[in-house]
C-alpha cells in the first residue's frame, strides 16, 4: 500500500514546480535566470524562435557559468534582437553574415585557444536557411574539423525574415512564398526538406540532438549535455513561426508539441553518429492531420477538397520516424 511519494501533480513537464527540488527545476523557472535575450525585441507575437533562443542561451549560460560567446547568422533572430540602437542580448554576442556564422564561431574558438582560454565556450546559431542552405558548407567544415563549437539551428522551416521563402528545411506540401499552393502538387515538393540532424550525424561529431520549445526539460538537458563535451556539436530546435506557418500566436507551443506527438519531429540524442537516446512519445501517436489542420500553410490539404493522398504521405513520414527511432510510448513510471 505504501507508495513512494513522487512528484505527480505535473510530472516533470511544467517549467517549474514548488514541489520539485530546486536543482531539478528548469533554468527558465529561476527568478534569477540570465534572460540572455530580454524583452523589447521585435519578434512577432508568439515567436517560437525568440523563445527557443532564450531557452538555449539561458541553459548554455548556466552550463558555462556565464563564459559564453555567441555568434549569430543573419535571420529573424538577429534582425529582431538588434536594430540599432536597441539590443536585446545580455550576453557577448556578435553577428557577421547570413552564410558564415559557423566559420566565425570556429574562428572565435581558435582565438580563445590561441589565448589559452580553456573556460570560455562558443555557441553559433542561426535559422534553418542560414544553417541548412547558405551556411551549410561552413557548418560542414566546422564539423569536419571538430571545432569546439556548439551550433544551434532554430528551425522554423523557411526564410521567415525575408518573407517566408522556401528553405532546404521546408517540409513537403508546405506553402511558402516560393512554393505556392497552386497546380497539381501544391506547396513544397515531396522528397524535399533536408534532415539536417541526420546529416550532422553523418559527420560522426561528438554530439547531435534535436529539441523543441514544447519540452523545456528535454531541451535544457540537451544543451547541458552538449556543453559537457568538447568538439563540434549540433542542436536542431524546432521553433514554430506564427507568421510563416499561419497559426495563432498562442498555438506556438501546442504546435511544437504536436510535431513531436505525431512523430513528424523525433527527439533524440546521438553521439559520434549513433543514436544514443530517444525521447519516446508520452501518448499514442497523434494523427498528422491534427498538426496540419491549424496551419494555414497546409490549408490546401483540406480546402476546397481534402487531399487524402498528400495527408497519407505526410502520415507515412511520421510513421517511418516512429518506427525508425522507436518512439512508441512507454509506461510512465
Amino acid at each position: 500500500m505504501s507508495a513512494k511519494a513522487k512528484f505527480y501533480q505535473v510530472g516533470s513537464f511544467a517549467v517549474g514546480n514548488r514541489l520539485l527540488d530546486p536543482g531539478d527545476r528548469t533554468v527558465q523557472s529561476r527568478q534569477d535566470r540570465p534572460n540572455a535575450l530580454t524583452g523589447g525585441h521585435r519578434a512577432c507575437r508568439g515567436c517560437g524562435e525568440a523563445l527557443g533562443a532564450r531557452f538555449v542561451q539561458d541553459a548554455a549560460v548556466r552550463a558555462t557559468g556565464g563564459r559564453l560567446i555567441t555568434v549569430n547568422a543573419t535571420g529573424c533572430l538577429e534582425v529582431f534582437s538588434s536594430p540599432f540602437p536597441e539590443n536585446a542580448w545580455q550576453v557577448p554576442w556578435m553577428h557577421s553574415l547570413f552564410g558564415n556564422a559557423p566559420s566565425v564561431a570556429s574562428g572565435v574558438a581558435y582565438a580563445l585557444k590561441a589565448k589559452g582560454d580553456t573556460q570560455t565556450r562558443v555557441l553559433g546559431q542561426g535559422g534553418d536557411g542560414g544553417t541548412v542552405d547558405i551556411g551549410f558548407g561552413a557548418l560542414s567544415g566546422t564539423f569536419e574539423r571538430d571545432d569546439d563549437v556548439l551550433f544551434v539551428c532554430y528551425d522554423n522551416e523557411a526564410y521567415m525574415n525575408t518573407g517566408v521563402q522556401r528553405s532546404g528545411a521546408t517540409p513537403p506540401a508546405a506553402r511558402t512564398a516560393t512554393t505556392p499552393a497552386l497546380g497539381p502538387a501544391p506547396g513544397n515538393a515531396f522528397g524535399q526538406g533536408k534532415d539536417a540532424a541526420r546529416i550532422a550525424r553523418a559527420h560522426r561529431i561528438p554530439y547531435v540532438a534535436t529539441a523543441t520549445v514544447a519540452d523545456l526539460h528535454d531541451l535544457e538537458a540537451k544543451v547541458a549535455a552538449a556543453m559537457e563535451v568538447r568538439g563540434a556539436r549540433y542542436l536542431h530546435v524546432l521553433v514554430p513561426c506564427p507568421l510563416g506557418w499561419g497559426t495563432r500566436s498562442d498555438e506556438t507551443i501546442a504546435l511544437a508539441r504536436l510535431a513531436v506527438g505525431t512523430g513528424l519531429f523525433p527527439l533524440y540524442e546521438a553521439r559520434f553518429g549513433e543514436v544514443a537516446a530517444v525521447t519516446p512519445l508520452r501518448r499514442p501517436p497523434v494523427p498528422v492531420e491534427e498538426y496540419l489542420r491549424p496551419q494555414r500553410r497546409y490549408a490546401h490539404l483540406f480546402t476546397p477538397a481534402r487531399d487524402d493522398a498528400a495527408i497519407a504521405r505526410l502520415q507515412a513520414l511520421a510513421d517511418a520516424n516512429i518506427a525508425e527511432y522507436g518512439l512508441e510510448p512507454q509506461e510512465e513510471s
Partner: protein, 541 residues
C-alpha cells in the same frame, strides 16, 4: 538609450542601448489576466469546503496548514473522511484524465492526524455577549455551534439524547464511524467553549423564554415512516433506527438467524450489515425497485454484498408472520415505477427490520409552516418565526451529514448577521473550471491509491472499522494528484514560456505579474497554463 558614456572599445563605433526601451506592449490587443476559477470539487461540496485550497497545502506535507484550511469550513474532517459520500470526487476533473483524486481519503488522513496531534482551533473573535441556543446535536447543530462560537457568540447545544452526535452516533454504525473518532471531534467543540445540555428534550420554541437571542433548530428527521404490512401476533417487526440505536447504545438485540430488511436506502444497508454482525446467518434486503434505482450508495452496497448480505430486487413484503414473510414480485413499468405482478413467495424470516425512510417529528415545530414534509425556511435559513433558524434533515434538502454541516455553517453566518453583525459581502463565485480550461499535457498519469479494506471474512465478527486510512506517503501522493483546477500553483509555465520575457516572477507564494510595457499579448501563457488560471481579455481602448 546610451546611458553608458564610457569611451567605446576598439572598433566599436556606436554604443547600443537595451531593447527594453522599445515598449512592445503597444502591439497588444488582448492582455493576460490571472484569475481564480472555482474548482469543481469545491463547487460540488455541500459543506463549501475549499478542497483545492487545503489539498494545495497538503501537497507540501503541511498537514496542519491543510487541516486548518479545511476546518475553516467543516469541523469534522475525521468524520467526513469516513461517512461523506464525496460528491467532490464525482465532480473532480482528474476523473477525465485517469481517476478522481481521493479527496475523501486525504480528508480522513488529515482528520485522524489532527486527533493524533491534538490540534485545536482557537476562538479569536471578541465575545459578542450574544447567546444562541442550538436544538439538536447532530451534524447540522454541531456545525452551527462551531461556526457561531468562532464568531464570538455563546452557544448552548441542547439534545434529548445522552450523548451528542445525532445520527452520526445513533444511526451510522461503528464499523463505518468508530465512536472514538466522533468523540474526539465533538470534544474539540467542547474545548472551544461550546456548552452542551444533553438529555434535555426541548419542547418550547420561544426565543426569549429560552434566555437567548436566536435559536437554531436541527432536530433531524428521526421519525420512521410507516409502511403497512399485515403482521401476525408472533411476527417480530422492528424499526431499523431503533435497531441501530440499540446497538449504538450497547443494548442487547435479539434478531434471530434469518433477518429480512425492508427498504433500499443506506439505512437498510446499514441495518442488514449490522444484522450480520449480530450473528444473523442470513441477512436479506427486500427492495421494490432494481439496483440502478436503489438510493443506497454504490460502495456501501458493494461492501454489504461482500459481507454476505443478500438483496432481493423488485420485491415488496406483503405480510409477515412468526417465522416467515410473504413477498410479492414486482416489475418495473415504463415510467420506472414498480408494479405488482400477483406472484407471491414465502421466505423464512425470524425478524423483519423496517427501513423505508424517515419523517420530521413535527411536535416541536407544529406552528411552523411545512413544505415537502419538512420545515420551510428562507434562503437565510430562518423559519417563519423571527430569530428561529433551522437546517439539516428537518428542512427540505438532501439528507446527508455533509449537507447538514453545510447548512449549519451557512445558517451560523446568517444568524451572526441577524444578531447585528454587518453582512459580510459574499462575492459571486467565479465560474467553475472545466476540463476544457486545463492544459492537461503537463499532468503525469498517476492512478489513485486505494484505501485498505478489512477482509470480508473478518467483518461479520464485530464492529471493527471496515475501511482503513492512508499512510503519510500515500496521502501525500494522493494530494499531489490534484490538478489545481482554475487556480495558480506556481508551476512557472507562464513565466518560462513568454517569448517576450514579460511575465515577472514575484517569488514563492507571491505568484506572477505581467510587464505590460513589453507583453505583446500573444496568449502563450494562457494557453500553456495547466490550471486555466489565466484569461486573455480584450485590451481596454
Amino acid at each position: 538609450m546610451t546611458a553608458d558614456r564610457r569611451p567605446l572599445p576598439f572598433a566599436i563605433t556606436l554604443a547600443a542601448g537595451t531593447s527594453l526601451a522599445n515598449r512592445t506592449g503597444a502591439w497588444r490587443t488582448e492582455r493576460p489576466v490571472y484569475r481564480d476559477l472555482t474548482p469543481p470539487c469545491e463547487h460540488a461540496c455541500p459543506a463549501g469546503e475549499r478542497v483545492q485550497g487545503w489539498l494545495y497545502r497538503a501537497e507540501t506535507g503541511d498537514y496542519e496548514g491543510a487541516w486548518r484550511a479545511l476546518m475553516a469550513d467543516n469541523p469534522f474532517p475525521a468524520v467526513m473522511g469516513r461517512v461523506c459520500y464525496h460528491p467532490c470526487q464525482t465532480a473532480c476533473n482528474r476523473g477525465e484524465l485517469d481517476e478522481a483524486v481521493g479527496i475523501n481519503a486525504v480528508e480522513r488522513f488529515l482528520g485522524d492526524k489532527a486527533i493524533e496531534e491534538g490540534w485545536t482551533v482557537p476562538v479569536e473573535a471578541a465575545p459578542t455577549g450574544r447567546r444562541v441556543l442550538v436544538v439538536g446535536a447532530g451534524p447540522a447543530g454541531l456545525s452551527a455551534a462551531y461556526h457561531l462560537r468562532l464568531l464570538g457568540h455563546e452557544v448552548t447545544v441542547a439534545d434529548a439524547a445522552e450523548q451528542a452526535g445525532g445520527m452520526m452516533r445513533y444511526g451510522i454504525p461503528a464499523y463505518r464511524l468508530p465512536r472514538a473518532v466522533l468523540d474526539a471531534e465533538i470534544a474539540r467543540l467542547e474545548r472551544m467553549g461550546v456548552r452542551f445540555d444533553l438529555g434535555t428534550l426541548v419542547t418550547n420554541l420561544d426565543v426569549e423564554s429560552a434566555g437567548c437571542d436566536a435559536v437554531f433548530l436541527a432536530v433531524g428527521a428521526q421519525l420512521p415512516k410507516r409502511a403497512h404490512i399485515p403482521a401476525g401476533d408472533s411476527a417480530r417487526v422492528m424499526e431499523a433506527l431503533s435497531l441501530l440505536r440499540s446497538v449504538a447504545e450497547g443494548e442487547p438485540v435479539r434478531l434471530g438467524r434469518r433477518v429480512v430488511v425492508y427498504g433500499g436506502g443506506n439505512t437498510a444497508v446499514d441495518a442488514a450489515r449490522t444484522a450480520r454482525r449480530l450473528g444473523a446467518e442470513d441477512a436479506l434486503i427486500v427492495y421494490r425497485r432494481n439496483r440502478e434505482r436503489m438510493p443506497a450508495h454504490e460502495s456501501e452496497v458493494e461492501e454489504a454484498l461482500a459481507e454476505g448480505v443478500r438483496i432481493r430486487w423488485l420485491s415488496t413484503i406483503a405480510a409477515a408472520d412468526g417465522d416467515s414473510v410473504t413477498v410479492e414480485r414486482m416489475e418495473l413499468g415504463d415510467d420506472g415505477f414498480p408494479r405488482p405482478t400477483g406472484e407471491f413467495e414465502t421466505l423464512a424470516a425470524d425478524a423483519v427490520v423496517m427501513a423505508v425512510g424517515q419523517d420530521v417529528d413535527r411536535r416541536l415545530v407544529e406552528d411552523l409552516p411545512e413544505t415537502e414534509g419538512a420545515v420551510a425556511v428562507g434562503a437565510d435559513f430562518m423559519t417563519a418565526a423571527p430569530g428561529v433558524f433551522a437546517g439539516g434533515d428537518m428542512v427540505p434538502s438532501e439528507r446527508t451529514v455533509t449537507v447538514a454541516i453545510g447548512h449549519g455553517k451557512r445558517a451560523a453566518r446568517r444568524i451572526h448577521e441577524w444578531l447585528g453583525a454587518a453582512a459580510a459581502p459574499e462575492p459571486a463565485a467565479p465560474p467553475v473550471a472545466t476540463p476544457a480550461d486545463l492544459n492537461t499535457w503537463y499532468y503525469a498519469d498517476a492512478p489513485h491509491r486505494v484505501r485498505p479494506r478489512l477482509e470480508a471474512a473478518r467483518r461479520a465478527g464485530g464492529f471493527e472499522e471496515v475501511v482503513g486510512g492512508l499512510d503519510a506517503g500515500t496521502a501525500l501522493f494522493e494530494a499531489r494528484r490534484c490538478l489545481s483546477c482554475g487556480n495558480c500553483f506556481e508551476c512557472d509555465n507562464c513565466y518560462g514560456m513568454c517569448p517576450d520575457n514579460a511575465v515577472v516572477k514575484l517569488g514563492p507564494g507571491r505568484g506572477f505579474a505581467i510587464d505590460l510595457d513589453h507583453c505583446k499579448g500573444c496568449g502563450i501563457c494562457a494557453a500553456e497554463c495547466p490550471a486555466g488560471a489565466i484569461a486573455m481579455v480584450e485590451e481596454p481602448t
